[in-house]
Amino acid sequence: MAWTARVTLRWRPSSWARSTARIGPRIWALRNCSFRLPPGRIAALVGPNGAGKSTLLHLAVGLLEPDVGTVRIFGAAPFDGFETAHASILADIGFVAQDTPLYADFTAAELLTMGSKLNRRWDGTLARMWLAQLGIPPDRQVGKLSGGQRAQVALALALAKHPRLLLLDEPVASLDPLARREFLQALIGSVAETGTTVLLSSHLLADLERICDFLIVLNDGAVQLAGEVDVLVADHRQLIGPRDPGEHIQGVATVVRASNTDRQSTLLVRTDGPVTDPAWTVHDVSLEDLILGYLAQTRPQGSHTAWGVTA
């Protein structure tokens, strides 16, 4: 399975597009956005607000159409206009949108009925079992359930499709820590049995570190980093050493981020061999450090003039 997306949204600028000064009809919401997601992984899609995470997921599920470039899910384009072929790809994708939209006046049981009517492949027993374990009342309108319970109902709807690919757009953002842990545990337990590929976007780096084995960093509408978590963590090192060394350090491929104090420099580097220079102390990095290092690379440009203040 491979994705390649290069996208501009002419008809609805993304939040990213609006946050920059260059508001216009043709702003690239996503570009240079190629990656392949191997099957069977739990992949994290991280990036700051407005980086294009939701846009990417909506492209993958066919809610948006790329203006330029292609998106391929299992080798087929998810956006197929309004053709019926669209439905056959949708059958393989489970999608939980941001803020877990559900029909607020439906009960959980009615939503499951809806799922069974709208999907050819549907495991109602699994969904009912799931919701029963979580103690979610079947005959109560979902608008009156708590945010965590709604998220669980939405996940149950997506899982009952037995999808080959599960896309989750910030599923745990509105949950308290306990509900978040329960949700993620349930998710892992469920996909471990079926071998489903999962792509979830989130801001909660600690959670991601616990469950994900593949990482995609999206920043400023472009994919900055994509790869296996183990490999990425093994490749990156934190170096602490003298200020302004000036020359190339042996074993360092690229410097991702450098922060300097008066006396010393801290570098996040991608290595291509052992760093043996005695001037530098080498530390392993956590996934969180790694992600933060990449995200800090591109800061949004200031809009001081737009706000009428001096920089």
Binding site: L90, A97, K117
Partner: protein
């Protein structure tokens, strides 16, 4: 998909049925009263006599007073009927406008368009259900209103005056379908329920006013045909007031005459001079 469409639609359908029932409860008694007094005053035979041109002066007097009495009693009914012009708008507001805009406003399109049915299928089922229900409701409404207004429009002025025309026959059905379609389009463009409803309201009312005030006066005028003809000994060519069906003149086979004037006193007409004027709006 049909299950989902009906599940989302049933509350609106219920309210509409209740509304129509209330309307029927008001209109059936008044309609029956109107029909009864129409019959009691002997107006059906008067109208038949008008059509046949067999009105003798004595009957004409009694018919005239009957017409006057009926009109005095039920003319105000037409004023009561004015709000009915805008009832189709409510169907557009509450069925049409939220159909797509509610999904987009609440974000639930992301739920339903990512299930296993294509958007074309979804739209087809939704539009068919709403459109079919609209057609059924509007047909019932239009037929009921036509029945209710029938005595008034038979005794009153032209069936083609704005009020009478807009409330009877296929016209309410057309307007209801139009209001729903306008609501759906507005909801698709504005993507929020309230703005979509506001646009539907403004669009419908604006179009009604524009049609009545600007377009209708500019329609082609009724075609006026003048031709000579020889009256037969029977006074059969006199036709009724507008409102009754046009009658075929016996003097000129194949020609439709529809006039509101009595023919002049029988005398030898100049051969090529126009004698009758037939306004053939519907011919």
């Amino acid at each position: 998909m049909i299950w989902l469409a009906w599940r989302q639609f049933r509350k609106q359908a219920l309210f509409t049925v209740i509304g129509l029932a209330v309307l029927a409860a008001l209109m059936i008694p008044t309609g029956l009263a109107m029909h009864h007094s129409f019959d009691d005053l002997g107006l059906p035979s008067c109208i038949r006599a008008l059509g046949g041109g067999e009105l003798v002066p004595a009957a004409s007097e009694s018919c005239n007073s009957a017409f006057r009495q009926f009109n005095d009693e039920y003319r105000p009914v037409l004023l009561v009927a004015i709000p009915f012009i805008f009832l189709p708008l409510f169907v557009g507001l509450f069925w049409g406008a939220p159909l797509i805009s509610r999904e987009l406003e609440h974000g639930t399109h992301r739920l339903v368009w990512t299930q296993g049915v294509s958007r074309r299928h979804w739209a087809l089922v939704k539009f068919t259900l709403i459109g079919g229900s609209t057609l059924a409701v509007a047909t019932g409404y239009g037929l009921g209103l036509s029945w209710w207004l029938n005595p008034v429009s038979q005794t009153g002025s032209s069936r083609f005056n704005p009020l009478g025309f807009d409330l009877q026959g296929v016209v309410p059905i057309g307007y209801t379908l139009f209001a729903v379609a306008l609501g759906i389009v507005a909801g698709t463009i504005w993507q929020k329920v309230l703005p979509a409803m506001a646009v539907t309201l403004a669009g419908f009312v604006g179009l009604r006013i524009a049609l009545t005030l600007l377009a209708r006066p500019r329609y082609l005028p009724p075609e006026t045909l003048t031709f000579p003809c020889r009256p037969t000994p029977r006074r059969t060519t006199l036709t009724a007031e507008t409102g009754s069906s046009p009658r075929k003149s016996e003097t000129r086979p194949g020609t439709w005459c529809w006039t509101t004037r009595r023919p002049p006193a029988p005398r030898a007409p100049p051969p090529a001079a126009p004698v009758w004027t037939a306004a053939t709006t519907t011919c």
